[in-house]
């Protein structure tokens, strides 16, 4: 057993602390140590993007980052997107209104990836730009079309 290290991460605006092995992934730290199970792991190799979270505002594969690498940084997970009373955020509502999810497994990563995209493209940009932005997150259910519609709608464009 390796020596454990202390990590302190601000997760969804709240300081969190844990004692972890150096090899513990950020995904496992969030899911198993902090019980934030909205971050989903689907390939563990960094190819599918289903575990994407925001670290200091940028999307990161939580399966490829060690928890210790996130020490001192700010992490946003899907649990940070809704209002404290559970009301869906604007992007979540747009996914709801446009059928942007089926099984829901990739949805947290899609939402966070779209969130990052919309920060950079508040007007929504083009469909091509949206498709490019989410191309690193694999969805097996939707064929992506309603996800693109959802992101465009969240930016204020028509569905």
């Amino acid at each position: 057993m390796s020596d454990r290290l202390v990590v302190r991460i601000e997760v969804n605006g709240t300081p969190r602390e844990g004692l972890v092995e150096p090899r513990r992934t950020l995904a496992d730290f969030l899911r198993d140590d902090l019980d934030l199970t909205g971050t989903h792991v689907a390939c563990e190799n960094g190819f599918c993007g289903n575990c994407n979270v925001l670290v200091d505002g940028e999307t990161v594969r939580a399966c490829l980052m060690f928890a210790v690498q996130a020490d001192g940084r700010e992490v946003t997970t899907v649990e940070g997107l809704a209002e404290p009373d559970g009301t869906l955020g604007r992007l979540q509502q747009a996914f709801h209104d446009n059928h942007g999810l089926q099984c829901g497994f990739c949805t947290p990563a899609m939402l966070l990836t779209a969130h990052e995209y919309l920060e950079e493209h508040p007007d929504g940009g083009t469909d091509e730009q949206i498709r490019d932005a989410i191309s690193g997150v694999i969805c097996r259910c939707t064929g992506y079309q309603h996800i693109v519609d959802s992101i465009r709608a969240a930016a204020g464009g028509g569905a």
Binding site: E21, R23, T37, T39, A42, E79, Q102, F105, I134, G143
Partner: protein, 817 residues
């Protein structure tokens, strides 16, 4: 055929829910899904999100060889690792468990951990139970297995020859099944026809590949002896007792708890290995044990790969383009086990003639065992393959006749007045208007414009191609398709029911309990909410839907074969009808009017034409639960009903199997048109236009149906262009990760238009037909047609999938020579 031959209960439901003059209030609306909010907040509670107190974690060692004897296993180093609770091998399985359930014939035995030999790469040879998954995987590295390699069987054709190594010695052959079915006078029809086309075609092994892999938590309670298994599998009330048999416990001591699945596409349709395994591990250590496949294990050792078929197929037709007969011979590479028997070919036989008036069909199947992971279910369940075969032959016939590809299809479509239509295999098509769907797709896409565009582009040296294909979409299987293959089957079930309980609580809230594990990316809760809303005129968002565990469940079969929406709607309609009768009686007393003058409106019951004479469901429910003396004397307290809805229309096969009976009768229909431009230099392609029109009977929710059509289309695109599980010459999987197994990304797929026509089924509740698989039934055929058309200057004929970029470049460069 008359509706009177239907299942009587289902016939009553069909009658009561048939379209009337009164417009539907909630069915047919694109309402937001009631499932969504919890998933949008990251609170979906998938299998791996669940933690039980004291729970341990398992990891597995997969075989590095495709075919080998297990000589010895040394577990001592693994057992010595701190945190390891127990190492498990085939010896434990041999001593304490029975083989896994199988629907195949003959001595083809599968165990949850290989006992004497491994039969495919990745097959489980040992497992470690530890305090966490990291330790369990560390310990797996420390297990030393000595193998004696055996000759590897990979080519299903060579596997049939004398002298081939055997995958299952006890079977004495690698050909698990071999039979020819003849429907009509096939030889005569081929002789008399003016022409025929014949092709060798190959459909590659791929798999549903959900993002959420298969997982289960076993939780054995030594006190009660009950084994609770939380699993993201399906069909648990239908096949539960089979898993209990593998664990050697009474079915009454097994309790399965349904957990939502992050996608299935067939891969979790009766997923037998993982839940049984987790239950077994938990029984060994007396504590909860979680096992979730990692991606590598899912690719190499999942329960259900898709079809892997080599065909020789012929279509006979006359000079005027009229199709006469179809002859199909298939060698299907089933891999190392035969879990589902040959049911995937039963699927094919339900719609083997497609939407065409073909009267004579011959179908030969050799099901062959090889050293690969086993085949099972994948969206389409084999019918998507047969549709590709048929549409390929039709395109070849059009080319042979120099006839337009739309025109040759139009000339052969079954006429709208011919339903119910009996196909040569005995299965019927319940209803349809195929000409209407074709007209609609041609309205959507200006076909002549794109033909003109293609010609102009071609003149500029660009490679633009058009594909246009049709498909049937059979829905709602009868269990006869699992056994009609055999002359003397050992077990001949005819049931595939679905149940629902509808309860109105004392506050007037409606609670529906479903008796299958049904949430895997479809919309069971939304469907049920819309049906309940339709029946009671309540807000669908107010309906509470939950799932029974197996010990509290009524008969259910679960999703699969596009059956769930049809079947659960029937069950909910049946239970609602009973409840409404009771509510009407109570309301009639309270309002002092005849029952006939009452209607369900605005979340309650009111007198027709008198807006202020109205009782809420809460008024009535409180009376039903708390005021026994106000109820009619023969009426018990409470407001709950349950209904088990059987397959509405199924018949037995005949003795010689020249008629397979009715086994998949609710049949939708679709047309897709794609226009692609291929880059012959790089082999890449882009969509210039993609349109689909589907007819799935009465639509419950147009937008979620669109989602199924688009998602299925894109999954079929993966099959057509990208996906194949690759085995090397030693039978090792070469692409067991997403690095080398390419799934369609948002950059690979079309933006498509989806149109609908509604031709209700006369036999089902509300006239609904299933529609979860249709998209994938068309894309392989349409991509084959469109790429072939784009590359027609090179004389290309697509006969195998996937159509890789390398293949396209090769065709183009060969043509340039």
């Amino acid at each position: 055929m008359s509706i009177a031959e239907q299942d009587p209960n289902a016939a009553k439901v069909a009658r009561e829910t048939a379209g009337t003059d009164k417009p539907r209030r909630w069915l047919g609306k694109s309402l937001n899904r009631v499932e969504d909010p919890r998933f949008l907040r990251g609170q979906g509670r998938y299998l791996d999100d669940i933690k039980l107190p004291g729970m341990l974690h398992a990891a597995v060692v997969g075989s590095p060889h495709a075919h080998a004897k297990i000589v010895s296993i040394d577990t001592s180093k693994a057992e010595a690792l701190p945190g390891v609770v127990r190492v498990v091998t085939g010896k434990d399985v041999a001593e304490r468990a029975a083989p896994l359930p199988s629907f195949g014939a003959g001595p083809i035995v599968q165990d949850m951990i290989a006992i004497e030999k491994v039969r495919h790469y990745g097959e489980t040879v040992a497992a470690v139970i530890a305090e966490d998954r990291y330790i369990a995987e560390d310990a797996c590295e420390l297990i030393e297995v000595v193998y004696e390699q055996l000759p590897v069987v990979l080519d299903p054709v060579a596997a049939r020859e004398d002298g081939s190594a055997l995958v299952h010695d006890a079977l004495g052959t690698n050909t698990a099944y071999d039979r020819t079915f003849t429907f009509g006078e096939v030889d005569k029809a081929f002789e008399e026809a003016d022409r025929s086309v014949t092709a060798d075609l190959y459909w590659p092994r791929s798999t549903g590949m959900p993002m959420d892999t298969n997982g289960a938590i076993g939780d054995y309670d030594p006190g009660s002896g009950v084994v609770t298994i939380h699993a993201n599998s399906m069909n648990f009330t239908y096949f539960l007792w089979l898993i209990a048999g593998s664990l050697k416990i009474p079915a009454s001591k097994l309790r399965l708890v349904p957990v939502p699945a992050g996608g299935s596409f067939g891969s979790k349709f009766f997923m037998h290995k993982v839940p049984t395994f987790a239950g077994f591990l938990s029984m060994l250590v007396g504590k909860p044990v979680k096992y979730v496949e990692d991606r590598r294990t899912h690719i190499t050792n999942n329960d259900h790969c898709g079809s892997d078929r080599r065909y020789e197929a012929s279509l006979a037709f006359d000079d005027d383009g009229e199709f006469k007969a179809l002859r199909i011979s298939c060698v299907d590479d089933y891999g190392a086990y035969l879990q589902f028997g040959t049911g995937t070919h039963g699927n094919a036989l339900s719609q083997i003639v497609g939407p065409y008036r073909i009267q004579h069909v011959e179908y030969s199947l050799a099901a062959v065992l090889t050293n690969k992971n086993q085949q099972g279910a994948y969206r389409g369940f084999g019918a998507e393959v047969s549709n590709w075969i048929l549409e390929r032959l039709v395109d070849m016939a059009a080319r042979d006749l120099d006839l337009d590809r739309v025109e040759i299809r139009r000339r052969n479509l079954i006429p709208a007045g011919s339903f119910p239509y009996r196909t040569p295999t005995g299965n019927i098509y319940d209803s349809g208007n195929y000409q209407g769907v074709l007209a609609k797709v041609l309205e959507e896409v200006d076909y002549d414009f794109w033909v003109d565009y293609r010609e102009k582009a071609r003149a500029e040296g660009r490679h633009v191609g058009i594909g246009i294909v049709a498909s049937q979409e059979r829905s709602v299987f009868s269990s006869t398709e699992f056994w009609f293959w055999f002359d003397d089957p050992q077990f001949t079930p005819t049931s595939s029911p679905e149940s629902a309980s509808v309860r109105i609580d004392p506050t007037g809230e409606i609670i529906v309990t479903l008796h299958s594990q049904s949430m895997w990316g479809n919309s069971p809760e939304t469907v049920v909410s819309q049906v309940v809303a339709e029946e009671f005129d309540v807000d669908p968002a107010s309906v509470v839907v939950n799932y029974a565990d197996s010990q509290n469940a009524l008969p259910g079969t679960g999703p699969g074969g596009s059956r769930y929406t049809v079947m659960v709607s029937g069950a909910v309609a049946g239970a609602s009808s009973e409840l409404k009768d009771k509510i009407r009686r109570i309301a009639s007393d309270k309002l002092e009017v005849a029952e006939a003058d009452l209607e369900f409106r605005d979340g309650g019951v009111g007198v027709v034409g008198v807006p202020d004479r109205h009782l809420t469901l809460a008024d009535i429910a409180l009376t039903a639960y708390m005021f026994r003396l106000d109820l009619p004397p023969d009426m018990p307290s409470g407001l709950a009903a349950q209904s088990t809805y059987d397959h509405p229309l199924t018949t037995l096969p005949n003795a010689d199997r020249s008629d397979l009976g009715i086994f998949y009768p609710f049949v939708g229909h679709a047309w897709h048109i794609a226009v692609v431009e291929v880059d012959a230099e790089t082999g890449s392609f882009e969509f210039l236009r993609y349109a689909a029109v589907h007819d799935a009977g009465t639509i419950v929710n147009p937008r979620t149906l669109d989602g199924q059509v688009i998602g299925g289309t894109v999954q079929g695109l993966g099959t057509a262009m990208f996906e194949e599980i690759l085995y090397d010459e030693l039978g090792r999987v070469r692409n067991a990760s997403f690095e080398h197994y390419h799934l369609p990304s948002s950059m690979d797929v079309p933006t498509m238009t989806v149109g609908h026509q509604e031709t209700p089924s006369p036999y089902t509740a509300y006239g609904i037909k299933g529609a979860g698989e249709g998209g994938r039934m068309l894309t392989p055929a349409i991509m084959s047609a469109a790429i072939e058309d784009a590359l027609s200057p090179y004389g290309v004929t697509v006969t195998s999938l996937p159509i890789s970029a390398e293949q396209i470049v090769e065709w183009a460069s060969a043509g340039d020579d």
